[in-house]
């Protein structure tokens, strides 16, 4: 391949991503960004997105980190199968994820029926939003975290153990700090995925301002009528996503230097 040809291909690939994103900005009349974002529906959506993704991230870190460690460092029969199943939501169409969650946690669902008997209904609540985000985003974190834990030098673990570190101490004081770079990168990507969650949320949680209407759902709803608000929210999401990517790049460079 000639250098010019290769250069043209790279430019084409870059333009394919940049042009649609710029198109949003070009459609936005000057000053409209602030106007659009000051609309209550947009403000509520951003706050709700922030709240729900933070909760989803906290659950992901608390449960996902030890799970990833066990799967990567303490293989048991069937660990690979479990690991593959946990990755499934990444390749699942979001609409399928929504239907699956509904059939599991809906009020006539497998688990939802039991919960309903106990007086708890999840569908149409903010908890449903968090569940949908967790379902689609957690696998991204699990995958990165497993890779990060798998890369730990076994001698480090042996050394820690010979110094008398128990399993919990080994995990918290050795494994997590050593794998921190991968864990942070995985958490950032998963958080960004949770922030963008749309299909599963729409089906499972519905769309109600302040309760279940997250930023992506608000963009969908506001396109009918309040286009400026929809575009304003889009710009915010694009900016956040870009910041996350840059952050991941920078942190992985910092963390990957050997100490």
């Amino acid at each position: 391949m000639t250098r010019i040809g290769a250069g043209a291909l790279v430019a084409l690939a870059a333009a394919f991503v940049i042009v649609p994103l710029l198109a949003i900005l070009l459609r936005l009349p000057p000053g409209a960004l602030a106007d659009g974002l000051s609309e209550p529906a947009a403000v509520d959506a951003l706050l709700l997105s922030l709240r729900t993704t933070t909760i989803a991230l906290a659950i992901m870190l608390a449960v996902g980190t030890p799970v990833a460690f066990v799967l990567a460092r303490r293989p048991f029969p069937g660990a690979r199968i479990v690991s593959t199943i946990l990755e499934l939501p990444v390749v699942l169409p979001p609409a399928v994820a929504g239907v699956a969650l509904l059939y599991a946690f809906g009020r006539f669902g497998t688990v939802g029926g039991v919960l309903r008997a106990a007086g708890v209904e999840i569908a149409f609540t903010t908890a449903a939003v968090v569940l949908a985000q967790l379902f689609v985003a957690a696998p991204l974190y699990l995958r990165q975290a497993q890779a990060a834990f798998a890369a730990i030098d076994p001698r480090l673990e042996d050394a820690a153990r010979s110094c008398g570190a128990g399993p919990t101490r080994l995990f918290l004081r050795v494994a997590v700090p050593v794998a921190a770079g991968g864990l942070v990168a995985g958490a950032a990507l998963a958080w960004a995925r949770a922030l963008g969650e749309f299909g599963a949320t729409l089906l499972f949680a519905g769309s109600l301002q302040g309760v279940t209407q997250t930023a992506p759902l608000a963009i969908y709803a506001l396109l009918d009528g309040s286009t400026e608000s929809a575009l304003g929210l889009s710009v915010v999401l694009v900016t956040i996503s870009f910041a996350v990517l840059i952050g991941v790049r920078l942190s992985s460079r910092r963390w990957s230097t050997p100490w």
């Binding site: 809906g106 149409f124 089906l203 519905g206």
Partner: protein, 257 residues
């Protein structure tokens, strides 16, 4: 060159005028979601009656289709579930004169299993009832708000406020409302009578006399159509005997004046 074009144009007009030489070609019809069943039947019948013509459909919310036409989507015909958008588009010179072709009536719909214990339309104001509505700004949502206003006159002025506090989701189109009802997650929602007829697990709850709302469905040829002759013929077909029969079969009402 100009002379040539004139001859071709004249020839084209001729073809449209005589019934033996019918215009042929493909047309793309943008139609409201609620028209899907009827229009699929009409499309097949149209293709059978006009050999060489093909009809492709895109079904979505009327408002979304209008946006797509504004953005230059390759539509030849626009059939909407509301007069608002065709009139807007006609005003902008994007579609020809909208012509009524059917009417539809709003109804309250519930899952047949009736998880919310709905007895009549007044039940949706009972605390804890899960109600799904169309969002404001989409045809089903705007029509529903009119009906809620009418119901408020029937059941008293607190009714509407109580219903609004029972709303668990505001959907962008009829399909979203139907999905929430068919899965049994919501107790009640407002959709068109044709949507209830088309679904398997839903039951219609008749609204009180004073709260009946009938909406007119208009159809128009898109100005930018490359196949305006066939598009016009399709519009004619929908408004004709065969089209009206297919629409009536799925529960649509007659053309309203």
């Amino acid at each position: 060159m100009a002379c040539c074009a004139l001859v071709v144009a004249a020839c084209g007009d001729d073809q449209a005028a005589t019934s033996t030489e019918r215009p042929t070609g493909g047309v793309t019809v943008f139609a409201a979601s609620s028209l899907e069943a009827a229009f699929r039947t009409i499309g097949d019948a149209f293709e059978a009656a006009n050999p060489g013509s093909t009809v492709t459909f895109q079904f979505a919310g009327s408002d979304r289709l209008a946006t797509q036409i504004r953005e230059g989507a390759p539509a030849d015909v626009y059939a909407a579930a509301s007069e608002k958008y065709p009139i807007e588009l006609a005003g902008e010179g994007l579609v020809g004169e909208p012509l009524g072709f059917a009417s539809n009536t709003l109804t309250l719909a519930i899952p047949t299993a009736n998880p919310g214990g709905i007895v009549d339309a007044s039940s949706i104001a009972a605390p804890g009832t899960k109600v799904v509505l169309g969002a404001e700004g989409v045809p089903i949502g705007d029509a529903t708000r009119k009906v809620l206003g009418l119901l408020g006159e029937v059941y008293g002025n607190q009714f509407t406020g109580k219903v609004v506090s029972n709303v668990v989701s505001e959907e962008q189109d009829v399909k979203g409302i139907v999905a929430k009802l068919e899965t049994g997650e919501a107790d009640a929602g407002f959709i068109y009578v044709t949507d209830v007829a088309a679904s398997s697990g839903l039951t219609a709850i008749t609204l009180p006399e004073g709260a009946m709302l009938t909406v007119s469905y208009p159809i128009a040829v898109v100005r930018a159509s490359r196949n305006a002759d066939v598009a016009a013929r399709f519009v004619e077909f929908v408004r004709g005997v065969d089209g009206q029969a297919a629409l009536a079969a799925v529960g649509f009402g007659p053309i309203t004046p």
